[in-house]
Symmetry: C2
Subunit: 284 residues, 2 copies
Amino acid sequence: MVLARNGQIKIGVVAPSNRINPAVQEGILKLVAGIDPQSRPDIWFHPQCFASSGHFAGTDALRAQAFLDVANDDSFDVLWFGRGGYGSFRLIEAVLAGLRPAAGNKIYLGYSDAGAMLGALYGAGIGRLAHGPMPADLNRSGGAAAVRRALAFLVDGNAAALEPSVAPGTPTAAFNLTILSHLIGTPYLPDLSGHVLMLEEVAEAMYRIDRALGQVASTPALRQVAGIRLGRCGDIPANDPEFGRSEDEVVRYWCERSGIPYLGPADIGHDIDNKVVPFGTWRP
Amino acid sequence: MVLARNGQIKIGVVAPSNRINPAVQEGILKLVAGIDPQSRPDIWFHPQCFASSGHFAGTDALRAQAFLDVANDDSFDVLWFGRGGYGSFRLIEAVLAGLRPAAGNKIYLGYSDAGAMLGALYGAGIGRLAHGPMPADLNRSGGAAAVRRALAFLVDGNAAALEPSVAPGTPTAAFNLTILSHLIGTPYLPDLSGHVLMLEEVAEAMYRIDRALGQVASTPALRQVAGIRLGRCGDIPANDPEFGRSEDEVVRYWCERSGIPYLGPADIGHDIDNKVVPFGTWRP
């Protein structure tokens, strides 16, 4: 997925969901300044990242426009989602309607709430998309490793950044489980037939993980995936009463009921070890 | 929806989701004993209600069998969901496969997690279905009023028990918002074209209410409803940052975006004032 362009790659950061703390920008620019000049990207944070409108990093109109500012600008090689939270689903309609050809020749990288937009872009056949670390991961203890991994993928197409089961010729996709469950039924759920579908979750009780996996496994279009790999389910709140089954047992249960092959764990999650998963077939 | 049968009606209580505290059975039987003999129902709690398997009131097999025991028994006029929680979605496949003709001549009453099963039964054209209070509502302060309302509906077809906008000739349906969102895409989402769709929510943050309403409003099949009424959204946890919009603003936003008429509030919710909403057209 390395870019063909010669010279420094240019990354534009936008925040379609929640606002970014300005300290993240400072930290990212400092980290980048320490990278060998030959592989040092030029990273620009759209001012919208720091806007605020209630829950969101600015109004829907502002966030959609910022997304289009970067996506439609040929000088950018990458649109990097700054942070998750909630809000990208609200922008899909305006973004899809506003994209221009420049948007197609670009990498889009993010995860968590960004998955709603990544899924919609993948369904629309726009750009090269990947599930992986974002600038706000710098807030995690040891988060610089996640950010460096994302940059190694974006700048050098470094295969070491990829989720280990990703292989040329096997289409993949990755989502936060809850985000995928809320795309189902809408026009923005992409066709994942034949894909290895990797799912991860954070901060959802086990009964909710079970409920969302039940929906995924019961949706006819998603039964056409090549198989499911389960990433890490982190910070699971207590279930009252104790759920009595682990996330591994739950994913195996629904895969067995639905006839979807369960392929084992995936090295993704809301953590610093989160690896990159391209949407579609990865070309080294 | 009053039953044609002469004499005492017989209600079977099952628990497809979480287990019921035996004190609920005691309380319900005591309440029923105080009802005028002419309209006093015979209520039987299936022993499965008190079983336990981790999160659930018994294993999937036990819960499905209990549901079928009552649904397929011609001596019961009503299957009353004892309590919500989570678990009825897991049983849909087994229940639909096991239902016999006796299941069609029966009222099914419940809400919250029961909505998954009610939706599937409605889609399959089985029985007379309604969204309304359950035995476990007795645990709420003042909950006897909710239970009496459910019984007045079941025994006498009392129109005062109905949600006030319910009218003969206008098909209605009611769901917990999150439960409906997890039915989308599965074979168990019923056709709600032309229905007034009433939604309520409990204990979900505003961003989650917005996210689920976005999915509902973006699902082409659900855009065919006659309109949406929003019930009460209770016990909303704090949103960080403050969401900045009320549930009323959020439902109006999504209705306006999607072209679904917003018809105003609905008198339903996870509380003692929860009124009864029949699925389909109510016949007084």
